[in-house]
């Protein structure tokens, strides 16, 4: 077994544009449990600058499901393909 920051992390750092409801937090914990194979505690930060969606960081793994991230990706692709 390889010991990585991801495999050792017990907490998921979550950034949301709006405060998450308890039900959303529960479903997020469940989804993360299926994804990483273990229970993770959530540390939630509200940041409207991500526009919408969520950013989840577990160890070195970053799951960017934010609208700001999608916009950045789209903008970078347009700039790259345009050049």
């Amino acid at each position: 077994m390889t010991w990585t920051a991801e495999s050792l992390a017990t907490t998921a750092r979550v950034t949301s544009a709006v405060p998450l409801t308890a039900e959303e937090q529960a479903r997020l914990r469940a989804s993360l449990g299926r994804r990483f194979g273990r229970e993770l505690a959530l540390t939630i930060t509200v940041n409207p600058r991500i526009l919408g969606g969520l950013i989840v960081q577990v160890g070195d793994v970053v799951i960017d499901g934010s609208l700001a991230g999608k916009l950045d990706t789209l903008q970078e692709r347009l700039l790259r393909e345009g050049g």
């Binding site: 949301s16 709006v18 469940a30 994804r35 969606g53 499901g65 789209l74 903008q75 700039l79 345009g82």
Partner: protein, 168 residues
Amino acid sequence: MDVLQNLGINIPLLFSQCVNFGLLFLLLSALLYRPVNRMLAERQARIAEGLEKAKIADQRAAEAEQAYQERIEQARREGQTIIAQATETAEKSRQEILAQAKEEVALLKQRAREELDLERRRVQAELRDEAVHLAAAMARKVLTETLGEAEQHQLVDRVIRRIGEGQL
């Protein structure tokens, strides 16, 4: 005889005068006539020689004149050849200079087109980048202003679902 004497002619004198005339004729023939004839023959020979020399000189002069005319004609032909060669060389140089000038003009045009195209592409890229940044900024502004609480939670729910499905 008496008749001759009556006419005043003295026979012996006549005879002696005839003899004297004959002697004088022989003497003059020997001393004067032959040298004069020889001198005239020599003079005639000199005149003939002079005429021959004059004829030769005239012939030589004609030959010299012909040679001179030939040299003049040859010089004229050589001059025409030189002029033709110079004209041909000048025309060739003119053509070369013209071709070189055309080539340089074409090169300058090509460079100008390339620079223009490069500048056009640079401006297009700048405009495109600016448009992308502007569009992104407008999208952020629109999303910020239009997404309400319900839409935000719908987005959160979708992200949670996709994380669970392994799509993110």
